[in-house]
């Protein structure tokens, strides 16, 4: 059970948040121009890394803001937290 430093509210218990999966997967601007395979790549394919993973989190029982988290999935250590639209710090 980790502690997340919400960029808007500060450190809060994990139970206040919900995870939205892998970050930096942009919704295609022109979906109709994509092939089935390209659309499926966006729709279904997600990384499940043991190690550093970029994730979306939502402070769902708090400010309800979405933001990004860089988490090591092998030990839950959080290396960075940054707002939506901000540049990933380690990428």
């Amino acid at each position: 059970m980790f502690i997340i430093n919400c960029p808007y509210c500060g450190e809060r218990d994990q139970t206040e948040f919900s995870c939205g999966g892998e970050a930096h997967i942009e919704r295609p601007k022109q979906p109709t121009e994509l092939s089935d395979d390209q659309w499926a790549e966006y729709l279904f394919m997600r990384k499940n890394i043991k190690g550093i993973q970029f994730e979306r989190w939502n402070h769902i029982h708090g400010c309800r803001k979405w933001f990004n988290v860089v988490r090591d999935t092998s030990n839950d250590k959080i290396h960075a937290v940054y707002k939506m639209g901000e540049r990933p710090p380690l990428k």
């Binding site: 939205g20 942009e26 919704r27 979906p31 109709t32 089935d36 729709l43 939502n58 979405w66 030990n75």
Partner: protein, 1002 residues
Amino acid sequence: MNNNLRINKNNFIDQTVRISFKFNGKKLFGYKGDTLASALLANNIHLVGRSFKYHRPRGIMTCGSEEPNAIVQVGNDPALTDPNVRATEIELYEGLEAFSQNCWPSVNFDIGGINNFLSPLLPAGFYYKTFMWPASFWEKYEFFIRHSAGLGKSPTKPDQDLYDHQYVHCDVLVIGGGISGILSAKLSAEKGLNTILIDDKSYLGGSTIYQDNDIFKINNETSNAWLKNQIEKLKKIPNLTIKNRTSVAAFHGYNYLLARENLTDHLGANERKGKIRQRLLKIRAKKVVIATGAIERPLIFSNNDRPGIILSSSIKKYIDYYGVKTGENISLFTNNDSAYETAISLNKSGVKVKVIIDIRENPSSILSEKIEKTGIKILRGHTITNTDGYKRIKSIDVMKLSKDGENVVGNKTTYKCDCLGISGGWTPMVHLFTQSGGKLKFRNNDNVFIPDENKTPSEQISVGSSNGDFELDDVINNTVKKIKIFLRLDKNDYENLDIKCSKEKQKRNIWLLPSNKPTSKSKPFLDFQNDSTAKDVKLALREGFKSIEHVKRYTTTGMGTDQGKLSNMHALGIIADTTGTNMGELGTTTFRPPYTPLTFGAIVGRNVGEFFDHTRRTAIHDWHVENKAEFENVGQWKRPWYFPKNGETMYQAVQRESKAARESAGILDASTLGKIDIQGEDASEFLNRVYTNAWSKLAIGKCRYGLMLNEDGMVYDDGVTTRLGENHYIMTTTTGGAANVLSKLEDYLQTEWPELNVYLTTVTDQYSTMSICGPNSKKIIKKIIPSLDLSDESFPHMSFKNSKIDNVNCRIMRISFTGEHSYEINVQSNYAKDVWEKCIAAGKEFNITPYGTETMHLLRAEKGFIITGQDTDGTLTPSDLQMDWIIGKKKYDFIGKRSLYRSDTIREDRKQLVGLLTDDPNEVLEEGAQLVESLEKPIDMLGHVTSSYFSPNLNKSIALAVVRSGKKLKGKKLIVPMENKNINVTITDTVFYDKENKRLNA
């Protein structure tokens, strides 16, 4: 036989307070400070239970939470009885009643004992191998297997005890109140850190507090006297909290720990009343010190499980702490120096120790020298090959070990004894360390897994014997050194103590001791609770199991309620020896929480009954209760299900309500529908993107039904949205989907479309909604708001008007989920009950009939309207629902659009929504029933029924279903096979009633 084995002199047991208790119905006495185990031993009772598989007699083996055998049922109250309680942990209280488990008819005569003689037929994996086939016989085996399996009996009535949860925060949490924990807590608290010290026992000081032995001295005091002094000082420090009788169950990441505090389990029934029984502490600590100690290992030799065979250190605790002799003729069997300390304690208390058998060739130390002076015989380089005695050990067979330790040589000597102490060395309790993510390393010279300093999660350390320091000087010096760095301390009082103790000189370890008997005739037990032997582990290896996790599950070694605290190391050792692997490479099985079993009560705390979940009630709820509504749970909401009159059944009430709604007027509390207020200059564009249909051209004052998809093209939610102003809409969602829809919309706005200027606010609770439907609904609204123009020209279907009912502002939508002419009145929730009552009063002359969710479902099914979540299940596209009309074909994009023409979603043989009529109009199908074309095996399942009712307005049974290629199958006959009959049905259109929608404007 002497039934009082209590010695007089004692510091820990209050012999002035006598306590009576019952064991297996027999009245016995103990003293304040006893555990059930120490009191039983004082009464010379060793036999307390039967083993799980062979039903062998088993006795008390330890003095703590690692106890595998002495697990008892406490109490016989059907609500309060507690199974699987360790007799070594439960403190004695007046009136305690305990019973042996896993035996019938009694612990002394157990019919299951026959299994012991059948044991050659019951090898590892016996159940897997025997009851595999024929598969259809499982039902017959199951009864007998279930009957003979399981330990203890569950309570049959709801638990009446109170449990609690508490969040706790501290700078430093010290787990374990032994000497290293005491020093750590004291150093931490003296530095001014907010410190918590937790120990599972009722006292502090671990095993040092009763180590009254001249060989062990600190600053010229015996170790126990010195430690007692430290504890007295410790208790005076204000920023230190001591939690006794508290066991840490789990150590999660970020120093989040769960601990169970026992508050009343040691009290008599009268003292417990009104008190909280157990409290689950949810601890967030900045730093954690693990000082959980070590557990003594048994030795593995044939028949090492007889009552009277006890861990050597436990014998020492029983004599030194509880003042109880575990026997009057005790022998000791060891591979290390600890047994000598036990011998000194026994000798001092006047208990005869006949012989110490030591597998080591030359175990000389201060301890052994002292023993030799007392005249106790020491057999070096020897082993026990067998023991005798059924319900209590009677004798041991001793032989000399060969140099390599693989065989026994020479002649067998038999020694009589009534108790045997065994010591196979020590296992550090690294459970919590590994739970927190720490990795272990293997220390070869004494075969222990200890925390790897380089693979320890930050902000925690392990100290004392849980860190592999077993001798007094190492324990103190290393603890103090580590704590100093960990807490960044300056110089302290403990750095230059004068410590005297015995040092172990020789080590020898043999995981499975040899015997003069063939393996097939020996019974060297590894896991005492689950009855797995060294032979079982070897068999598993021969049968091809290699992973330790597989061997564990196949043999069930380490899978009892003790989770293998005693047995796991030997199982690993035997696997390593047999396969020729180094134990360090083999690793351990995973240590999972909880460390000791938790009660369900502690886990759920106060979250029972009405506190289990939030209950949401509409503003009109009280009226429903007054009018005898039956309620249905929809998400967290209580919704009126139906309103029975004069003892009607649900069916009768729903038939009456449904007819009334179509013939005159019905009223529904629809307040639970999700309501989202949408504002901003891009609100129309936003709706265009989230719904499948077009929104830009919706005029102000108009309403539109919308279907929302996931990106995968599957229907997610639906509802009517109304344009209140140029940049202002109110969206309704399904009751259950409200929270998720809001989250989803917020997600898109914040992450994908931040350029849109749109604001979302949930107003579900702020507005209440009542829907009045039926041919007389217009007359009722006219009575309530005479000034409102209700003509179809001014107020057509799918439009909205702001109005007032008396002085209450309201929004009135002309929308319909029943197919009838109907109005939805939305008012602020604090006026809702009043407005509802006005509607009821105005509708009285038209027999306005309140109806619940069941009638709502029936009426919409007559019209073929879907309910998302009932007729859909996340696998249906709009096209599957025959709702192609709602796809905005000209729209460039919306959520899920691209998925609607993926190769999978355009398949024609997808499951599609259809209507069903039964050949017998009175036959009502069961929702969830399967649909097939023919009964010839193998039967191909084509789909299932999603909604089914008897329609009073059509006077026949109707149903909706999803069927493979359903759209093409109109008119096709299918079969619904049920348990006792097959029902013939025909596929139809989904709309059963008023196909032309004439009634909307009736």
